[in-house]
Each structure stands twice: as structure tokens, then as C-alpha cells.
């Protein structure tokens, strides 16, 4: 691990454990580079917290921390408001991901969120749209086979309201397992519409969600922070037999095991990593929170058989989108299949106008992966 990555991990660990950083590790590292890494991994607030503890002033990190605190306060209020309105309308809802996990951190603003994810009763999908628009949100995406709708309000509010946890575009095992998410939800008698997961199911979902990203474009260090704080909070109280059974059903038990060990070793700053853990860490460090195109291309080619065959299939799927993806991403064309031959042209023109550099980069990546397997 290079010195900047080592400092990044060290600062995160110190923040998660509320300890003072080792100045020997800070010395000689390039804070500008570490800042950029922290942004890619959405861990700026954690690093800023540790630097402040070490008495080091750095404007970029301080501004990052202030932004995270501001977002936490705005998001929490917005989430409370939305859930209250859903409740008044008789709609159950269940906050997901960062909205829940942030409260396991030493301070909630250390856990950066780009948006608020909430699972809602799919029966009331249209009604929740009315509510969100009444609250001043603009609907960015709604309906179709996508498992979530997207809403935005200035200055920073982004909501993803989920009607399902995985769509048909994702791994079949995940889609089938979570086809009826209601069976996993719990509630109190006093507030039956405010739903939540038991810790075990929350953990399984957390792992499934992370695997979804890890296996495609990659996932970053922040997900390891989530695993670490979760296990610290619930250590000794979890039904591990149940968890392992569910992970086996999803075929991600090995992944979860390595992930958990890596998070623990990294942030408790104890034992050396083994080979699998090193490999996972290297991959995650190179990924960033939302993965990279390079990983996505490589993993996709690999999943399609690898080598020349994989590349050919990848290229074919990129040009002639598989029907189950059309169903989710282009429902209009799915409903009017006679127009499917036009879709590649539509997508191609749209991409050339909006993302010409990304297209060029993807073509270069496909060419560069010719030596895979």
C-alpha cells in the first residue's frame, strides 16, 4: 500500500475509533492526494475528523466536513418530513442504507450520503410521487420496471424511493430472494407504518447491495466502514447461523466473510491481511464509492465468458441491449417492440451528444481488455 492510501485508511480508522492519529503516518503523505482519494471514496468527513483531532488545519478537509454536517442535518429533516407525510397518507416506509447506518457511526455526519434511500409500499407508488411533488421535489425518474423512483429538490436533497430492493436487471438470486421485501420488515405497534429491518436482515441486505456494486464496477472503502461500524454496534448479539444461511442462499457467503474480516483488520489496526483480503482491498481502493468504468467493463466481459467471446458478447450487449434491460431502462421501447431496431441509434446519438468522452474511454477499455483470460 502506498503512503497516501495508508494515511487514508489510518485517518478513517482513527475517526471510527475516536483515537488520535499517528503523526509519523501523516508526515510525508500528500494531503492534496489524500483529499482527492477521500472524495472518491466518500470518506472526507472521517478523514477531516481525524486531522482535526491531530491539530492539522486543512481548508479542503474542513470544508468537506462542514458540507457533510450540513447535508446530514438537511437530509435528516427531509427524511423525517417525507416519512411523516407517508405515514399520514397510510403508506408504510422503511429507510435504507446510509439513512440507517449513519447512526452507527461515532457521529452521523461522518457517514456521507449522496441521497436518501427509502423502501415504500409499491401499491402507493403514484401516491408517494404526489406527496414528494407537493413537498417541492422534482420527479427525475418514475415508474417502469426500475425498482426505484428519483426525486430532487434544491439545494442538495436527493431521494430514491424504492418499490423493490433488486430489479430483474440484477442477479437472479438477489431478485428472487428479495422479491417480496415486506416479509423482512418489522414494526412497532405504536408506529406500524414506520418499518425497519432486524439487524440480521439489515446486514444481509447490506452485503447483497455491496456485492451488487463490487461485482460490477467495484465498491469503495466507505462500504468497509459501514461493515465495521455495524459489527461493532451489534457484536455478540447477531444470529450468525441465520445470517450465514441467508448469505448461502444469495451465494455471497465467501464474499461477506472476506469483506467482514478485511473491515475488522483494517480499522481495528491489528492483524496483517491475508492474500484474499489484500486483493479485495486493492480492488476497493482502486474503485471509489461508485466503482469505475474499467472495473465494470472488465467484470462484465469476465461474466460473459471472458476472452474474445466475452468481449464480443459485451460489445453486442452494449449495442443491442438485452430485453430485460430494455424493460427497465427503456420501457417505451419494451412496450413497442417493433421500434427496437431504432433503440441502438437512439442510444448511440444520445451518448455521442451527452457523453462522447465516456464512449471513447469505453471503447479504449474494451480494446485494452483483449488479454483478459
Amino acid at each position: 500500500m502506498d503512503k497516501n492510501s495508508r494515511l487514508l485508511i489510518h485517518l478513517i480508522a482513527c475517526s471510527l475509533n475516536s483515537t488520535e492519529p499517528d503523526s509519523a503516518i501523516i508526515e510525508g503523505a500528500e494531503l492534496d492526494t489524500v483529499f482527492k482519494m477521500s472524495v472518491r471514496h466518500s470518506v472526507t468527513a472521517l478523514c477531516a475528523d481525524s486531522l482535526k483531532r491531530a491539530g492539522i488545519e486543512n481548508k479542503a478537509f474542513e470544508n468537506g466536513m462542514a458540507g457533510a454536517t450540513r447535508k446530514e442535518i438537511l437530509f435528516r429533516t427531509a427524511l423525517d418530513e417525507a416519512v411523516s407525510e407517508f405515514e399520514k397518507a397510510g403508506i408504510w416506509s422503511c429507510p435504507l442504507k446510509g439513512s440507517v447506518i449513519r447512526d452507527f457511526y461515532p457521529r452521523p455526519d461522518l457517514r456521507t450520503m449522496a441521497d436518501c434511500d427509502v423502501l415504500i409500499d409499491p401499491v402507493y407508488r403514484e401516491k408517494t410521487r404526489e406527496i414528494m411533488e407537493r413537498l417541492g421535489y422534482e420527479t427525475k425518474h418514475f415508474g417502469g420496471k426500475s425498482c426505484h423512483d428519483v426525486y430532487h429538490k434544491e439545494p442538495v436533497y436527493n431521494f430514491e424511493l424504492h418499490v423493490g430492493l433488486f430489479s430483474t436487471m440484477h442477479r437472479e438470486k438477489f431478485y428472487e430472494y428479495y422479491k417480496d421485501p415486506v416479509k423482512f420488515l418489522r414494526w412497532n405497534e405504536e408506529t406500524p407504518l414506520r418499518r425497519y429491518f432486524d439487524p440480521e436482515d439489515l446486514y444481509v441486505y447490506m452485503m447483497a447491495h455491496e456485492y451488487k456494486h463490487y461485482a460490477l464496477g467495484g465498491s469503495g472503502i466507505r462500504s468497509l466502514c459501514d461493515v465495521y461500524v455495524f459489527n461493532r454496534k451489534f457484536r455478540g448479539t447477531l444470529d450468525r447461523v441465520y445470517i450465514n444461511q441467508q448469505l448461502d442462499k444469495l451465494e455471497i457467503r465467501d464474499f461477506a466473510g472476506t469483506n467482514e474480516m478485511l473491515a475488522d483488520k483494517l480499522f481495528s489496526m491489528k492483524d496483517e491481511l491475508d492474500e484474499e483480503e489484500e486483493k479485495m482491498l486493492e480492488y476497493m481502493l482502486s474503485s471509489g464509492t461508485y466503482g469505475t468504468m474499467s472495473h465494470r467493463v472488465e467484470n462484465s466481459i469476465e461474466n460473459l465468458g471472458g476472452g474474445k467471446k466475452g468481449r464480443r458478447r459485451y460489445l453486442r450487449n452494449r449495442i443491442f441491449m438485452p430485453l430485460k434491460e430494455v424493460e427497465v431502462q427503456y420501457p417505451f421501447y419494451y412496450r413497442h417492440k417493433v421500434l427496437l431496431p431504432v433503440l441502438p441509434i437512439h442510444r448511440g446519438v444520445k451518448a455521442l451528444i451527452k457523453r462522447p468522452k465516456a464512449i471513447k474511454r469505453e471503447i479504449e477499455l474494451i480494446k485494452s481488455k483483449k488479454d483478459l483470460r
Binding site: A66, T69, R70, E72, I73, L74, R76, T77, R107, P108, D109, E154, P155
Partner: protein, 89 residues
């Protein structure tokens, strides 16, 4: 006077934060300790500076030697909140 609904508050750790919404016309963030926390808590409903002083007396040891300072601290905090548009009069 009362805290404007265009400002949101939250206690994180031992600090209180005051953050404007987009309707506030102020672009920044206020951070303070427990004393500011008490002032802001009072301002969540209609109150006067005397009401805030009364609450301070309930929570801290305010006596003849420090009452002037406490009054002054309250005035300054309220003044700053007024300056950024965080109060409805």
C-alpha cells in the same frame, strides 16, 4: 422572537448546529456549544431574552457576579442570529 423555520437545528456530539434551508438567504452554518444549545432550544417557541436568562438560571449557576456576563452573552448570540436572519420577530 422565535427561530425562523428556514433554519434547521441538530445536536451532533456535544455541539449544536444551525443550518439554513434554501429559503433562508444565508449561506453558512452556525456551530456552538451547550450554551448556544439552550438559547436555540428556547427560541424554538416565542420567547424573550429574559425568558432565555430564566432558563440559563435553571440550568447553570447564575448569580450576581456573573449575571451581567450571561445577559451579555445571550444578547450577543441573539444579535448574531438576528443578523443572519435566523429569527422571526
Amino acid at each position: 422572537m422565535k427561530l425562523s423555520e428556514n433554519f434547521l437545528t441538530q445536536t451532533i456530539g456535544e455541539e449544536i448546529y444551525l443550518v439554513p434551508t434554501s429559503k433562508a438567504g444565508f449561506n453558512g452554518m452556525v456551530r456552538g456549544n451547550g450554551t448556544l444549545g439552550i438559547i436555540i432550544k428556547c427560541l424554538k417557541k416565542e420567547c424573550t431574552e429574559d425568558d432565555i436568562l430564566a432558563e440559563m438560571k435553571r440550568q447553570f449557576e447564575v448569580n450576581d457576579t456573573n449575571i451581567a456576563k450571561v445577559r451579555d452573552d445571550i444578547s450577543r448570540a441573539v444579535g448574531k442570529l438576528r443578523e443572519i436572519g435566523a429569527l422571526e420577530e
